[in-house]
Symmetry: D2
Subunit: 285 residues, 4 copies
């Protein structure tokens, strides 16, 4: 069904939990395009989710690892190169979690131990992954690495909390390491800034459904789905995008370039029904 865009390529997909996960779709699509892959997630996520199914379906080795552990990452790269028969060509980092959000700590009452965890899991893990890969010389020349990000890195979303800071740092790591790994081995590193996507991870955020609705009405093409994101990842892993690096790529149906759409405003105006006078002016207070 695919176009052989990744024929003969090897990759590692971090962060597939279940079939709602973007990483899950990416793994499937990469294989469809001719790649062989390994999968990695934490032992806990593997127990809670259904990654094992995916592993079987794709005949892809599943390597439990904590992406905040340099040792574990070394193991992932070593075992992946062995399983795949050589250095890898692409990597997906789809990892992010805020214990502060989980524990409902608002942004002005953060627990700093938990903030360190948010950063370690969601941003520093990306640096560790790249540093380990580079030290082990685990990525082929002209390899491609993607991390998934979100628009809150640029514009504050209420409730997204310390994840916004983690995503801003994640995107910075992509630039900083993109320079280093680009000049030495032509490895390109980008982030994809995806529409709010209904996944297990996304569903933890306050008022998420309404945000998804608003975002969908704002975007001329509607929100991007996980499956569409997988297509975009395939393209970014392929040899057709060799000179794109250090970028944050919006994959959001146009949302990031919208100030206000007719559809979103039309809906917004409905909120004032019963609150307007005969002339249709909003009655405040």
């Amino acid at each position: 069904m695919g176009n052989n865009l990744l024929k003969g390529k090897r990759g590692i997909i971090f962060g597939a939990l279940n079939d709602m996960s973007i990483a899950w779709k990416v793994a499937e699509r990469c294989v469809e395009e001719g790649a062989t892959v390994t999968l990695s997630n934490t032992a806990l996520a593997i127990r809670m989710g259904t990654t094992t199914e995916l592993s079987e379906k794709l005949n892809a080795k599943l390597i439990p690892a904590d992406a905040t552990s340099v040792e574990d990452l070394e193991k992932v790269f070593a075992e992946s190169m062995e399983a795949l028969g050589g250095k890898v060509d692409f990597i997906l980092h789809s990892i992010g979690m805020s214990p502060n959000v989980r524990k409902k700590r608002p942004y002005d009452d953060l627990d700093y131990g938990l903030l360190n965890q948010t950063l370690d899991i969601s941003a520093i893990s990306f640096h560790k992954m790249l540093q380990v890969a580079k030290k082990m010389d685990a990525i082929n020349d002209w390899g491609s690495v993607i991390a998934l990000s979100y628009g809150a890195a640029q514009r504050t979303m209420y409730g997204y909390n310390d994840m916004a800071d983690a995503k801003a740092m994640l995107e910075s790591v992509a630039r900083s390491f993109g320079y280093i790994y680009g000049r030495s081995q032509n490895v390109r590193i980008n982030t994809i800034s995806q529409s709010p996507t209904v996944t297990t991870a996304g569903s933890g955020i306050k008022g998420f459904d309404s945000l998804v609705d608003f975002s969908d009405r704002m975007s001329p093409l509607g929100n991007a789905t996980a499956a569409e994101c997988a297509d975009y990842c395939v393209v970014m892993f392929s040899d057709l995008t060799k000179k794109v690096t250090m970028q944050n790529l919006y994959h959001d149906g146009g949302y990031s370039s919208m100030g206000m759409s007719f559809r979103a405003m039309e809906q917004y105006i409905k909120s004032f029904e019963g609150l307007t006078d005969e002339q249709g002016n909003i009655i405040y207070g």
Copy 2:
């Protein structure tokens, strides 16, 4: 009442129509801060508006001119330097108008003659102003020039139409000429991207009131007023901001860095009342 921030400085304020105009407030505040100014607007605007009052109040010469005419601009600079007794130190460009918007031509049915007018009035006039000033050597070293812009230059607002393209070009002119005029005479050139402001100009835009409401709820500090914009212009004209140039400066209560606020989302959610099931989920279709 002021702080003598512009003591002894001379300026030209383009675009004051009536006391709702940002340019009107800027003129008042500049004088309050110790500057002497001249005013300019089209002959038509002077007839329709009340700029003459402002001219009398501030004892400021009013020079009718079409800012799309190089000759007229030459006259404005010549007469201003004469009236003020020397080269000018600051200029405000508060000029913008779309005949396509006026004639209700949607963006996919533009009249290209009118588009040329939109660009000429709203963007090229700024280049002409600067080119005329430079040729006449009409601005003192370390002078400061500001043009008013709007966030639609970066993110599409439905109904803003070809003004978005004009504002994008206006901001580019500020950068392009900021380089040229900066390196030769240290003149700095910036744009201020202001909250949607209820002025005579703003009120022509479709659904403007609701946009103002949304923008106000999105911005942690609320929309910026015309009076507050005047304060910001004073600061940018003063010697305290000498190394700020070629920038687009958001003056918008934080709006430009907001993805979604609690207040705006709270209001948005009200629009679904009667459209939700018992669990509070939105019922589509």
Copy 3:
């Protein structure tokens, strides 16, 4: 040799002059990926260049047209749909020229008649193309349109002159029309901001060779070539990037995210040889 990424798709390529042109490479690659295309350029360009060769090679109808003329554009779409047997799926706009640059008018001595031409050729032509297409319903749902841009739209390059303003406007048109055409027919519209590329168009710019050298040393992956740009266009025309719209996509080996590279600085430092004291400090004046 291709991947059938554009199998069965129809497209129009504007702006191929000769085999150095990006548009030339794009046309070739699109056909290689299974598309059928028509070509268009001005009558003058067709005489001066070698587009006819390309037309024969690709068996692609060549339609002479001035992209600033609505009538000519109507002809291009009508003849393309006839030649290709249906509505088109993709369009490349690779058109730009500044008569002010040609006539060596510096940015502070622009001829405003020529500025209008710069804008008309380099930016408004894109709007005309889209408006004509939409009125004729000439693009299929989920079609993809790309215009080529350059980083001077964001950051001033000496010598790039009024083309910077034209490119800023071009990118704005992509956003503005991207919203309109997206919400009605899911057509996506993007610009690609390409490395400085040694083409016939690029070679007119002052100091261009040194800029190309600097840019190459700054970019971790080096400058992107015309052939690589063609690959990227293929990807953006394919169904794998359906939710990317209203974006300016940097295709530049990382340049746009670089502040300073070791290689560029190493070269820069050489310029001071003979100008440094024993400690290696720069001796000024």
Copy 4:
């Protein structure tokens, strides 16, 4: 000598080491403008530097504190409010340090313990400062907070290392907390992205002198000095910029909007002398 812009206002200045420090100049200028301030720095910095002198000169209480310690920050706010006789109106965060840079760990061989320190000192300290202030209700309504940043947050500078990631996070904290503190008490929070400045902190970075030279030649107004930065801080602390928040404000003589200047390119071209053939073409290899 000032303009009474901060008359009656109270502030805290973090990070003055010696009279080259930006924070030092800011403290001086704030007092000159009518403010009373306290100073804070680490015990070590106070011993190494000359902050005590500044404290005496300005009659400003000096409060030793480690800005990574919540307890210490609580002490700074408590003692400041007592010394100044009320809540504060403005705060300067001029704190940043990378132990990885100090220990010459390249970006692809970071020590992760040291990275945590870089983040804690340079970015998280800003969050702690704001969280402590908000919990203690230590900032007056419409107060203003500034942190100093650098362009490496957006564009990679070789040698700047993990400080780039820290600055990206710092700017994100300004946005995230700017929303929270803005909506509750109208406190505005911004970062100023300053030209490379020859301070004790700046001088640790590799090739810094040449970078300063390049940056100066690129900027139409030249690099911004520490004294000019102090002026800009005064303006941002004053009541004239009340609606500017969540912004990263470039104070850099235009650098951030420059792609290439004639002066920088002229210098760059000199580096090829002796490397060009008779036609002036660069001879590679």
